[in-house]
């Protein structure tokens, strides 16, 4: 079979985040590639996921170039999908922002991912059904304008 994979990517995180105690309680990550999940500076809707130590999660798997902290890193792709509950099933989430938090140590890269979820009126909120997350590392390519 021909290999048409022209844009290689490698999954480094796959998992499912839930709130066993309900929204606004401690989030729980099930899956691979993440060693901890904590809330950001908000009761709901902000999560900081720390990547596993070791390849390919930490220390260089999410490298930053010579850019300011939190500037776009061209080599990571993250998909976040809230799950719905109820009937009809709804997630309540309308917008999702993903950011990468660089280590304070030079050369380490970004060992943490921060996710911000908001409801229609732009209030940070937990998706009651939890959310799926996959993070890929991209390889190669360059800048096209």
């Amino acid at each position: 079979m021909p290999d048409y994979a022209a844009a290689p990517i490698q999954p480094i995180v796959s998992g499912f985040v839930t709130f066993p105690g309900g929204v606004a309680t401690q989030p729980f990550f099930q899956g691979k590639g993440v060693s901890s999940i904590v809330r950001g500076p908000s009761l709901q809707g902000l999560y900081i996921l720390t990547l596993d130590v070791g390849l390919p999660g930490n220390a260089g798997a999410v490298p930053f170039g010579p850019s300011p902290p939190l500037a776009p890193d061209p080599d990571v792709r993250t998909m976040v999908l809230p799950l719905a509950i109820g009937e009809p099933p709804l997630s309540t989430i309308t917008s999702i922002g993903v950011s990468y938090i660089p280590s304070a140590l030079s050369g380490v890269g970004a060992p943490q991912i921060e996710i911000a979820m908001t409801e229609p009126v732009f209030i940070l909120a937990d998706p009651p059904g939890g959310f799926q997350i996959i993070v890929w590392r991209g390889f190669g390519g360059g800048v096209i304008d």
Binding site: Y4, A6, A7, L70, P72, I96, G97, S99, A116
Partner: protein
């Protein structure tokens, strides 16, 4: 090792769309990654009506499998907005509408909606918008820090071969 890959799909595009602001002139989109040979704002005019922001045409690389290859039926993709550093709501984005459509460019600089028989879709149109304003919006400033994109070609293997195809690489094969 057991092969659980029951639904093979092959990544043909992976990258990050950002907005570059030159010292003079208007901000323009830039793509960092693989599988795309050019990115422009969707030009105004028939049959495509471009927006001043948040509306882009990404031309796939020539050759396998990008150019004249992707059939919209087999496109699998996602768009993720990177959080804004300057939005009052920490690292969030107001962009809540993201869409991909498949476009054809039968000749350089000419774009038509939808795939063309014999050509397929060699251009992908990405539109990002904020429903609160109803406007297409760049993922820049308080609206975001870029837009990640991945496109896979589904049905990568020989199984489940469909006859409902468009591009020449996927022309139906008659099996006697």
């Amino acid at each position: 090792m057991t092969d659980y890959a029951a639904a093979p799909s092959e990544p043909i595009v992976q990258g990050l769309i950002t907005i570059m602001t030159p010292q003079t002139g208007l901000p323009f989109p830039s793509f960092s990654g693989c599988g795309v040979s050019s990115i422009i704002r969707t030009p105004p005019g028939l049959p495509l009506f471009g927006n001043l922001a948040g509306d882009y045409l990404l031309t796939l690389d020539e050759g396998l499998p990008g150019d004249v290859a992707i059939d919209p039926i087999f496109g699998r993709s996602f768009l993720t907005i990177r959080g804004s550093l300057s939005n009052p709501i920490h690292l969030s984005t107001p962009i809540d509408q993201k869409s991909i459509s498949y476009v054809a460019s039968p000749s350089p600089g000419v774009f038509v909606a939808g795939p063309l028989p014999g050509i397929g879709s060699n251009v992908v149109r990405v539109v990002l918008a904020v429903s609160a304003t109803g406007l297409a919006t760049d993922p820049d400033g308080t609206d975001g820090s870029g837009c990640e994109i991945v496109i896979w070609r589904g049905n990568a293997g020989p199984d489940s071969y469909s006859t409902n195809l468009t591009g020449p690489l996927f022309a139906p094969t008659l099996i006697g």
